[in-house]
């Protein structure tokens, strides 16, 4: 038996040495394979399906159509396709799929990738394969912090932007005392830290904060506690997301906290969350949005096209996927090649204005894409006159203030 194992091992090593099917070489053409392939890797079956998912693939296809229409015969190529895969929110699947996309499907740039662990993992893959990666639905600031790299760009939002936008702005508008509840995992803990700092920085006070189990379907302990705190909080700041947020909001209404004078602020909320919770349940709630479809005529025109394609209005993640795909194609066009290093050079430091990016800039220091953000408030049910038009924008947060300054942890 032992002898057999030895034979197996030596055969294995021999084969490995010969390298039966190692990585493939590259061609000399300006475009690898004479075409451009974009890869959308996201959750197409789980909790992030609605806010990004398959509709983001449609958004990327819209970007390709717009790029072709704009450049016509001058476009660097006519052959632009989209590959897509479902990572099921599992980082190991994201890892394999990302490598497979770059290696086998000759994807030039991967887009989207929600779920922090998957988002960070794909950044590793991009770095290793030296191919581009635009993260859109991931929230972790590590993408532009200790896990940043030359080929990774973080596009739409992050925990700092969300927490800082809401915490600072709402406090400045008069809500001084805060009670914060956050889910006890990395996203929640990051959010709480940034949020508390933003509130105190703007002159507010944190009268209490509690970590909640995750996932959790019963928040009554914390909701019972809120009005009994001294001084009584003006706002309950919740860092919950997804199903937990739905639970909390339901129970917030059940315990009638708004009637008891405790308003609600949410760390991360998507248009699809409001749609599923109904605006009535959330009326008056404030949160920071990266983009809103009915903000101005340009956004609305995009949203109308999107509605025709998909049957629903775009979330900011959809718009950001569109924008990232478009800006990548423009950069390839400008560079005249899809060579990753040349495209990165095109993108770094670039000022951009498009339907998603207002006063946008791709920071060269950490590849954070900064742009205007918005403090939004859910309208009272009576003011909702159109499906999906659920919020009003209270304030535009200028790009320079919306995001953190480049982190010292990031070495590209």
């Amino acid at each position: 038996m032992r002898k057999r194992a030895t034979i197996v091992c030596s055969v294995a090593l021999l084969l490995a040495g010969c390298g039966g099917g190692g990585p493939q070489g590259s061609s000399d053409s300006k475009l690898s394979g004479d075409r451009i392939v974009l890869g959308v890797l996201n959750d197409q079956s789980g909790v992030y399906l609605a806010l990004s998912g398959t509709n983001s693939v449609k958004a990327v296809q819209m970007a390709i159509a717009d790029f072709k229409a704009k450049h016509g015969g001058d476009a660097i190529t006519d052959d632009i396709t989209v590959e897509t895969a479902d990572h099921q929110n599992k980082p190991d699947i994201a890892n394999t799929k990302a490598a497979e996309m770059y290696d086998r499907l000759s994807v030039d740039a991967i887009l989207d990738v929600p779920t922090s662990s998957a988002a960070l993992k794909v950044a590793d893959v991009a770095k290793e394969k030296k191919k581009l990666y635009f993260n859109i639905s991931g929230a972790t600031t590590d993408l532009t912090g200790k896990s940043c790299n030359k080929y990774t760009f973080h596009y739409a939002y992050d925990t700092y932007m969300l927490a800082n936008g809401t915490g600072k702005t709402v406090t400045e508008q008069g809500a001084k005392n805060w009670y914060i509840v956050y889910p006890n995992y990395a996203f929640g803990q990051d959010m709480e830290k940034s949020f508390s700092a933003a509130v105190t920085g703007a002159g507010g006070t944190i009268v209490g904060k509690d970590a909640t189990p995750f996932p959790n379907d019963n928040f009554s302990t914390f909701l019972l506690k809120a009005p009994t705190l001294n001084p009584k909080p003006d706002v309950l700041g919740t860092m919950q997301a997804g199903g937990d947020l739905v639970n909390l909001v339901k129970q917030y209404n059940e315990f009638k906290l708004r009637e008891k004078g405790v308003d609600l602020s949410v760390g991360l909320m998507f248009l699809t969350d409001i749609h599923s919770l109904t605006p009535a349940a959330l009326a008056g709630t404030t949160y920071t949005d990266a983009w809103y479809w009915n903000f101005d005529a340009e956004n609305r025109a995009f949203a109308d096209r999107f509605l025709k394609e998909t049957g629903s209005r775009p979330t900011f993640a959809h718009a950001a996927n569109y924008s990232a795909a478009l800006q990548y194609l423009e950069a390839v066009q400008a560079a005249g090649t899809d060579d990753a290093d040349a495209v990165v050079k095109q993108l770094e430091g670039k000022d951009i204005n498009d339907v998603f990016l207002r006063n946008g800039k791709i920071r060269a220091e950490d590849h954070r894409v900064i742009h205007d953000a918005y403090l939004a408030q859910v309208k009272p049910a009576a003011e909702v006159t159109e499906d999906w038009d659920y919020v009003k924008i209270l304030k535009t947060i200028p790009a320079a203030e919306a995001f953190r300054t480049p982190s010292a942890d990031c070495k590209l």
Partner: protein, 293 residues
């Protein structure tokens, strides 16, 4: 003091869900020796069904509370006939595995059709207020949930104690060898009892719809806590399941409010208690040691 009472009340409410689910699990186990892994999925179907009745047919909460458990009970009976029964003569682990597969299928069917985003469901309008208990007030809907669950548990207890079927079920549940030895045929009650256990999960699901997020995975983690609850109470014991359900609800609520700097305590307390029970009384607090299956 009022805060303590509030937290206690709150613990009883979450305990009510655990008790209803554990009760159904125990009744099914008693009659069929099957641990139904899909119990959480049926709870989820109860909540999703409630939501669908309202959105697709305009049927309100109160009717759902009647219709959904009946429909799920019928569905449960169909599942017993077609899937569970063919494996009845084999090791019960096969049915545990089968219901695990069923869980995956049910979750994905709901996901495929309705997505994973949590669906909205309002509190029934008659119960949107609060009830004043003097020392504290509490949302009326929660008071209703607790009362309803207590009444349901007492009703089941009465049924088991005072009807012929009930006595058969209880005998089969709590003294399986003796019942069989006495030559009592429980065969024709197997299917209805399975359906009944599923209907109880359905009741819990309907009650959950107005206060919890309704989505395909809402029962997935809950079922594991319910497993721990029945191990603590004693899988064969009807009373033990209900008592452990309420007890664990209380422990979790107290843990969350008084040890709030350590949220891990509230989350894992049920498993620590389970470990302690296994050491001290392997058959559960109210269970009875039986010959190894």
């Amino acid at each position: 003091m009022s805060a303590f009472l509030q937290h206690t009340f709150d613990g009883l409410v979450s305990g009510a869900f655990l008790a209803l689910l554990a009760l159904g699990l125990s009744v099914i186990f008693g009659m069929l020796r099957v641990v139904n892994f899909a119990h959480g999925a049926f709870y989820m179907l109860g909540a999703v069904g409630t939501y669908l009745l309202l959105t697709e047919f305009g049927i309100p909460f109160w009717w759902a509370l009647l219709v959904v458990p009946l429909a799920l009970g019928a569905f449960g009976m169909a599942v017993e006939r077609t899937l569970v029964h063919p494996l009845a003569r084999l090791d019960p682990l096969y049915n545990f595995l089968l219901t695990f597969g069923l869980t995956l299928v049910l979750q994905d069917l709901v996901k495929l059709r309705y997505g994973t985003t949590s669906s909205p469901y309002g509190t029934p309008s008659a119960l949107t207020g609060t009830v004043d208990f003097g020392l504290f007030d509490f949302p009326a809907y929660r008071v209703f949930v607790l009362s309803f669950a207590v009444v349901a548990c007492v009703a089941v207890w009465w049924l088991l104690g005072h009807t012929r079927v009930g006595m058969l079920v209880r005998a089969a549940t709590e003294r399986p060898e003796l019942t069989r030895a006495l030559g009592i045929d429980v065969g024709r009650w197997v299917t209805p009892v399975f359906g009944f256990g599923i209907a109880l999960a359905g009741v819990a699901g309907v009650l959950a719809a107005p206060m919890r997020a309704v989505n395909p995975l809402m029962g997935a983690d809950l079922v594991i806590v319910v497993f721990a609850v029945v191990v603590i109470g004693g899988l064969g014991s009807i009373f033990g399941s209900v008592a452990a359900g309420f007890g664990i609800g209380l422990v979790q609520a107290w843990g969350e409010s008084y040890l709030d700097q350590w949220p891990i305590v509230a989350q894992t307390s049920v498993f620590v208690i389970m470990a302690a029970v296994l050491l001290w009384r392997p058959a559960g607090l109210f269970g009875r040691e039986e010959a190894p299956a």
